[in-house]
């Protein structure tokens, strides 16, 4: 059942709660999808790539082994492969599945259908934090996790950069699961990074 839904030009955020009879508490699922037009654009390109490969193989086999045609068909095959590779790196959706007292699962779903997931047990999470990341050209908000035994922060959304209004409900849900008081955490973080 959809509890919350937010969207802007690039991203759509959907929060779903699934409760099962065997579990005392509901599983919380937060999805961030890349918006429609970009996805269909890539699907179109994938279809186009497939067509190119088909055309190239037809030209190669049926029109004989003339040099220009061969070159053209190789170009078509190569560009088709490049587009296919690109679609493997293009992200369609990233999700956070929160299972209370058990852990959280971070999933990245690519356009090619591949899903990369990582499970983090609840005991390993120290704190979820909202951090402002500054690069030489821009500044954006990201949601990260402090994990036990690791030096670096773990990003919850590795590829996508959803806006703050979408990150805040996820952060609050993570805080609730870990059982830390939100306002106390903000003050602690301020003191930790000041000076």
């Amino acid at each position: 059942m959809v509890t919350l839904s937010l969207s802007n030009k690039r991203y759509t955020y959907v929060q779903k709660s699934a409760s099962e009879q065997s579990l005392r508490e509901a599983i919380d699922i937060h999805h961030v999808n890349i918006n429609g037009s970009r996805v269909t654009g890539f699907a179109r390109r994938r279809g186009f790539a497939f067509f190119l490969v088909l055309l190239a193989s037809c030209m190669y086999f049926f029109l004989g082994k003339d040099n220009p045609v061969r070159l053209l068909s190789w170009i078509c095959i190569l560009s088709g492969f490049l587009v296919m590779l690109q679609s493997r790196k293009t992200v369609k959706k990233e999700s956070v599945i929160i299972m209370p007292t058990f852990g959280i699962q971070l999933e990245t779903q690519y356009l090619s259908g591949k899903i990369v997931s990582r499970f983090i047990p609840i005991g390993k999470i120290l704190k979820p934090v909202l951090v402002e990341c500054v690069t030489p050209v821009t500044c954006y908000w990201s949601l990260s996790l402090f994990l036990r035994g690791e030096d670096q922060l773990t990003l919850v959304f590795k590829e996508l950069r959803p806006p703050l209004k979408m990150l805040v409900p996820i952060w609050k849900a993570l805080c609730a699961v870990i059982g830390t008081d939100q306002s106390e955490m903000i003050v602690e973080e301020e003191h930790a990074v000041s000076g």
């Binding site: 050209v137 821009t138 500044c139 903000i186």
Partner: protein, 438 residues
Amino acid sequence: MAEPPKLRVLMVSDFFFPNFGGVENHIYYLSQCLLKLGHKVVVMTHAYGNRSGVRYMTGGLKVYYVPWRPFVMQTTFPTVYGTLPIVRTILRREKITVVHGHQAFSTLCHEALMHARTMGYKVVFTDHSLYGFADVGSIHMNKVLQFSLADIDQAICVSHTSKENTVLRSGLSPAKVFMIPNAVDTAMFKPASVRPSTDVITIVVISRLVYRKGADLLVEVIPKVCRLYPNVRFVVGGDGPKHVRLEEMREKHSLQDRVEMLGAVPHSRVRSVLITGHVFLNSSLTEAFCIAILEAASCGLLTVSTRVGGVPEVLPDDMVVLAEPDPDDMVRAIEKAISILPSINPEEMHNRMKKLYSWQDVAKRTEIVYDRALKCSNRNLLERLSRYLSCGAWAGKLFCMVMIVDYLLWRLLQLLQPDEDIEEAPDIFLHHHGEKIN
């Protein structure tokens, strides 16, 4: 819930903490006092080593350490247009109304001021140092300053001498330049509870041991004074390239027991060094303002200083003895200081300094400058270009080209990433018990 801030100021400079100096101190104290007056202040500087990203300092002062590599003397590598995207992002996300740049030597400051003007923000510049006119470096620097200040709303200088210097270097109209002196934290710099005995008179010197700060003058003055007054000793704090010359001087005249070299003194320990002395000696060859003598006077020390730059404007005549930057004249000044030492009351000096200088006063005066800047009319691109044309025959045209390209790049950025797409950062107000996010 706290009421919304009246002004939202972005302080830009290459020089900020953890680097230590006069400009850094000025930006920090001014920002803290402006925060107490209810305004929002954000500081933008370049990353220092690992210190990169967003940091919050006391009072909720937000600092952006932008990961641009510094190249010479802590200034960012000048790319002219490279900083446009990040400056635009910071200005939009913090909803800035006034951009305040510090120090003519800071490339980040000049670039940020240029981009802020292109995007239509109000701009204020503070000059902290005096510069020359004759050498090649100064000529180029002055041309850059002329470009930067051609279209500025208001400027601030720290002394009347500095104002004259800035106006001559940049061709700015004097009516646009305000004079707001620096101040000193009198709560931190208090005299010793028990004044050290005057049987042995201690003269304290705390400065970087470089040519500009008159370290060579010290090498001449110290042996002469030690010979004339057997009951005088020197304490020298600070480090630099001229340290070697001072050590040689100690060896040559066998003054190891009369001249104590402390090495670099962290700012938190400066007061404890000052209160061991009776007289503070400043031998700078050039100084726009000189906060060091303010700190010394606040601690109840009588000051002997070279009459250069803005130094005569800083302290009342009965708290300072001035001399030309010549060893004999300085020795005469030290003699005079020693003779008037018995009439000095450190507590009374400290109380007078409390009334004369305070950062709260500086912040209130700076607020007036910001209000004046906000009242300046908005000018369109063509009107602004005409100001740049007057900078010189060739330079004027070059500056116009630079501004036109900057304008076009800004429009291109707006197409690629519209203004609405830049998320606004929430204001975080730090109160005594927890805080609220707006």
